[in-house]
């Protein structure tokens, strides 16, 4: 079926962890920036964006894992 470099479930976990790390880095970047910085708005919005994507990937993983009987 899928022509993936890793089994689907493992790749799913790996990508979700990478997205979570990017979200954490974005949050840390935002906290280091001064509110008057031209990048403050973007870093904060990007952190929110990545956090939302990560949360929904986790929900999707749980849904699929349950449906496919991985767990």
């Amino acid at each position: 079926m899928a022509n993936l470099p890793l089994p689907y479930a493992q790749l799913f976990q790996l990508v979700t962890v990478i997205y979570a790390v990017i979200a954490i880095v974005a949050v840390m970047w935002t906290r280091r920036l001064d509110k008057s910085s031209r990048y403050y708005g973007f870093s904060r919005a990007f952190a929110i964006f990545m956090a939302v994507v990560t949360v929904f990937l986790v929900i999707s993983y749980i849904a699929q894992a349950t449906f496919m009987k991985w767990i």
């Binding site: 899928a2 031209r38 919005a45 929110i48």
Partner: protein
């Protein structure tokens, strides 16, 4: 908060499309294509990237829609064994849908922050209209290529419209209400179609 003015297209807009396209690709890859609807290639119940690229298009115009197109193209394409026609068709639909939504937003002068009741109503209606039009287009092309039967066309349209609308209204609304005011300060925020 101060917002950026409408200006020229910059190379940074392409970077925005590339970066967010990559993020959408990861989400597309794991948005339950693995649990397909029988007889409907690429049909899924809850298409997470739709929530992302609808919001991205209201922030970055065409470049946000292009990010969704790139994400779907990569996510649906080489890894899942669909024919080129199926994945290119799906990716084109995911380019049109948020652009239709954007056109409705621009025509009605709605604000993506969704603060007023008017903006919220326009958001809900425009999402349903744009996903339904994209669903009809995608499944018409699939039908034209003989990938699905005409009987499956209507079920494809219903499944796509419900799945995408649910994802956009849940994820997209969350993103627009929390992140729009910050993205508005970003130099690459788009007020028209391209800049």
């Amino acid at each position: 908060m101060e917002t950026t003015s409408k200006g020229r297209v910059k190379p940074g807009h392409l970077v925005v499309a590339g970066v967010f396209g990559g993020i959408c690709a990861g989400a597309a890859l794991f948005s339950i294509i693995i649990v397909p609807i029988p007889g409907l290639p690429g049909g899924s119940g809850f298409w997470i990237p739709a929530g992302l690229y609808f919001a991205l298009t209201l922030w970055f115009g065409f470049w946000g829609a292009l990010a969704g197109h790139i994400g779907t193209f990569i996510g649906m394409g080489p890894f899942f064994g669909f024919t080129f026609q199926v994945w290119a068709d799906g990716a084109l639909g995911d380019l049109f849908a948020p652009l239709i939504n954007l056109a409705i937003f621009r025509a009605t002068k709605a604000d993506p922050e969704l603060k007023s009741k008017k903006d919220q109503v326009i958001w809900v209606i425009s999402v349903i209209i744009s996903t339904c039009l994209a669903a009809m287009w995608i499944h018409f092309v699939n039908y034209s290529f003989g990938t699905i039967t005409f009987d499956l066309w209507k079920w494809g349209v219903i499944a796509y419209t419900i799945g995408d609308t649910a994802a956009v209204l849940i994820i997209g609304t969350l993103l627009l209400k929390t992140a729009t005011k910050y993205f508005k300060t970003f130099p690459y925020y788009v007020k028209g179609l391209f800049s």
